[in-house]
């Protein structure tokens, strides 16, 4: 392992003119001061032409000329400035951003057109009430048409495209009635204008688009924010692999650049980036993320290791057998796909409403048309009444009702430390009646810690931790987590495989095995958890024994009892040993628990619950949970989870606290209630408005008032979705442990 250089080449995008571009996710940017320090510091590097911080997304974009500097130098400079930075590939995000801008452009065009047409319409309405002459009115209508036609066709594209796709797939979504209404309204209004009639509905058509685009944009904004946040966290976790290339150079590459046959280097304390076979070296590995099993396993040449497992000791080289998006067992992948497929068939509330709404409205309009014809009206009057019916039953309220409530609720959850992958999870979350927890990494903390930390005086622990920083031994590393920054004693001597020693103010301190600290084995206190490891600490003539193992999350018990109080049934499904699961289940007073389950068995258990009519919320983090997360009615995953689980879960818990699960459930109930109220408000509005339209009393003025009135009411109601959202105090565990871990 002589020549180890990091190469971030895979993250660099070449631009024209020999410029190179790199995006970095940066830790610890909070204010203008940080922003300025970074931009000035990086701009000072040779050849750098651009250094621009995005404070909202905590990103830095750097561009430089040719070979004047390198990503490694930039990252080094960032570290020197006190802002650890991690390169990441913004590829997937770029698409969302483009979509975002397209919607915003449509929204701007619709807003411009609505405002200008309204200006003309208000003049016509007031003119109609007084003495406008027909020529002026015709002129105003023509100018409106001139604005409305191109603007409507442009701003309506998101709806037309989606409606077209739906019809092509022989189904109906909300965009079909929207598109029909917009196109028909515009066409009928042009006809009215050509006939020099009193009423034209250009304003209604554009206002309809404007309101709906607001709803659509809110939805999109939420998805992008979630995505950006998740991407930053992934970059901070440093999900790259160190690949040993044929030229003997070790390069840092993104996971997507790995392919089977590559050789990767994994040092102690790192996770395996891909499935593979050990080719050189031996180490103890912790497979708890993969199997749920907490005892370390030995890995020797020729043995398979799986992505997500943690290397506890020693350097090893692994020949990759499955990589890229296939970094997990084939079986898990297959199960995952099947489960996700089943889930995509579930209908969202908005789609269900659309399925009900579209045929009813179209039939009503048709009935109005035929009815008026039969009653002896001329076909033109009958057609205008049918169009008025379509407009007044406009799905504005429906289109806004659900996204607005989702945005408000997920915004509140975001502040409480929970990121939702989709807004639709709120609907499913609200239906949940059973919560299933994984044990390892979910109920317990993902990293090992000192179980008896509470019984040791704080000062002693801090001094032991300060000493522990000098050692690379896995147990010492656990103790070192409790150290204060900059507390490393000056002179430390490490006795390999035994412990570390230092003397401060003439007092001898030792941290290590019992024999190194001169303790007899029978002097050692009995262990609480037989599978925990022990490490001894001597300070002068006082001795302490730290017990190191899995700890429950701080608020696990509190969360479990809160969930119970809400009438939810609880279960623990774990791949770990029976005693380990039992002790956790007893500590948390959960009666239903299953140990030693394989991923297939976990799914089978969820299947049985489903057959019994239960709606399950699965909370888990391991590779072995991924299929179960995807199969469950709703699912959450802590941020420390493996990639696949995060992708399979509906939401991510950011902090170290499980309380986010309770917060999610409460907020989902509230949001669901608000969405229901909104739908009922829309229905009520239609019940009043439709008869008026069918009877032919609707004028463009009434249509405009009714439409904006109903939209404003549902939007205001949606704001209530945050009313009972949890306070921000719960987010105190932020930034998440995973990020802290990556920093250290």
């Amino acid at each position: 392992m002589s020549a180890v250089t990091s190469d971030f080449g895979a993250f660099v995008t070449p631009l024209e003119g020999g410029l190179k571009h790199l995006d970095l996710a940066v830790e610890g940017i909070h204010c203008a001061g940080c922003m300025r320090k970074i931009e000035n510091g990086i701009s000072a590097l040779p050849g750098v032409t651009l250094a621009r911080v995005n404070l909202t997304e905590k990103r830095l974009a750097v561009e430089w000329q040719g070979d004047s500097t390198s990503p490694a130098e930039i990252i080094g400079a960032m570290r020197a400035l006190g802002f650890p930075a991690h390169p990441f590939d913004p590829g997937a995000e770029r698409d969302l951003k483009r979509e975002d801008r397209k919607l915003l452009r449509c929204l701007a065009v619709a807003g411009f057109a609505t405002a200008n047409i309204m200006l003309l319409s208000v003049s016509v309405w007031s003119g109609n009430a007084t003495d406008i002459n027909p020529e002026t009115r015709a002129l105003f209508h023509w100018v409106s048409a001139l604005i409305a036609l191109p603007a409507g066709l442009y701003a309506g594209r998101p709806f037309f495209e989606s409606a077209f796709a739906a019809i092509k797939a022989r189904s109906l979504n909300m965009d079909v009635p929207i598109s029909v209404a917009v196109v028909l309204t515009l066409a009928a209004s042009v006809m009215q204008t050509m006939r020099h009639e009193v009423h034209a509905y250009f304003d209604s058509a554009l206002m309809l688009l404007f309101f709906l685009l607001i709803g659509r944009y809110l939805d999109q904004m939420m998805r992008r924010r979630t995505r950006a946040h998740a991407e930053t966290l992934l970059a901070l976790k440093g999900d790259s692999a160190r690949r040993l290339d044929d030229d003997g150079i070790v390069r840092d590459v993104p996971l997507s650049a790995l392919s089977p046959g590559d050789m990767v280097v994994v040092s102690a304390g790192e996770r395996f980036p891909a499935d593979g076979r050990v080719s050189i070296g031996t180490a103890e590995i912790d497979q708890s993320l993969v199997t749920g099993e907490t005892d370390p396993v030995k890995a020797a040449p020729g043995q398979m290791v799986y992505a997500g497992a943690l290397n506890l000791t020693g350097n090893i080289q692994v020949k990759v057998t499955a990589a890229g998006s296939g970094t997990l067992l084939d079986e898990i992948n297959r199960l995952l796909e099947r489960a996700l497929e089943a889930k995509s068939k579930q209908l969202q509330l908005a789609d269900r409403a659309a399925k009900l709404y579209a045929p009813v409205v179209h039939l009503l309009a048709l009935a109005a048309f035929i009815g008026w014809l039969l009653l002896g009206a001329d076909w033109h009057t009958a057609l205008m009444i049918a169009v008025a019916t379509l407009i007044i039953t406009c799905p504005c309220a429906l289109g806004l009702a659900i996204p607005a409530a989702q945005v408000v609720a997920s915004g509140a959850l975001f502040r409480a430390g929970l990121v939702l992958n989709t807004g639709t999870i709120l609907e499913r979350l609200a239906e949940v009646d059973t919560v299933v927890f994984d044990k390892t990494g979910t109920l317990t903390l993902p990293e090992r810690g000192i179980i008896n930390a509470g019984e040791v005086p704080a000062g002693v622990l801090a001094r032991a931790a300060a000493l522990a920083q000098a050692s690379r031994h896995p147990l010492a590393q656990v103790v070192a987590q409790y150290a204060e920054p900059g507390s490393l004693p000056e002179e430390v001597i490490e006795h390999a495989g035994q412990g570390v020693w230092c003397a401060v103010d003439g007092e001898e301190r030792r941290l290590g095995s019992s024999s190194f600290c001169g303790l007899d084995t029978d002097e050692m206190p009995s262990q609480r958890d037989p599978h925990a490891s022990q490490i001894c600490y001597i300070e002068g003539n006082r001795s302490y024994v730290f017990e190191i193992g899995q700890r429950l999350r701080e608020d696990a018990a509190e969360t479990i009892s809160a969930l119970k109080a809400r009438g939810l049934r609880l279960e623990i499904l774990s791949g770990d040993r029976e005693e380990a699961v039992q002790s956790v289940a007893t500590a948390l007073a959960v009666n239903d628990w299953y140990a030693g389950l394989s991923p297939t068995e976990k799914i089978a258990r969820l299947g049985r619950l489903k057959d019994a009519g239960r709606k399950v919320l699965m909370v888990g983090d391991g590779l072995n949970d991924a299929p179960a997360l995807a199969a469950a009615h709703a699912s959450l995953s802590p941020i420390s989870a493996v990639h696949v689980s995060q992708a399979a879960a509906d939401g991510l818990i950011l902090g170290d606290r499980l309380g986010a699960v309770t917060a999610a459930y409460d907020t989902a109930l509230k949001a669901r209630a608000v969405m229901g109220q909104n739908l009922w408000l829309s229905a009520l509005y239609n019940v009043i408005a439709v008869p008026i339209a069918v009877l032919g009393f609707v004028t463009p003025l009434i249509a405009a008032l009714a439409m904006s009135g109903s939209s404003i009411i549902v939007t205001l109601n949606s704001l209530r979705a945050r009313a009972h959202a949890p306070s921000t105090e719960k987010a105190s565990a932020y930034p998440p442990a995973a990020v802290k871990e990556a920093t250290s």
């Binding site: 922003m35 300025r36 000035n40 250094a51 995005n54 909202t56 801008r101 701007a108 200008n116």
Partner: protein, 55 residues
């Protein structure tokens, strides 16, 4: 009423101007970092301002 023939194009033209200004600011990335932009306004920096990244 002939004044309308002048006022209508003026009104629509001003609206279009506003729309164009918005689309331009969107395109030039001014909506990419709303939080940062707020802070940049109060940074008293004599050095040359940084160019916007090409998105």
């Amino acid at each position: 009423m002939n004044i309308i023939l002048v006022l209508l194009p003026v009104a629509v033209g001003l609206g279009l101007l506003g729309l164009a200004a918005f689309l331009w600011s969107l395109k030039s990335g001014q909506f990419d970092d709303l939080e940062g932009a707020a802070w940049r306004a109060i940074m008293d920096d004599d050095e040359k301002p940084n160019r916007q990244p090409d998105a």
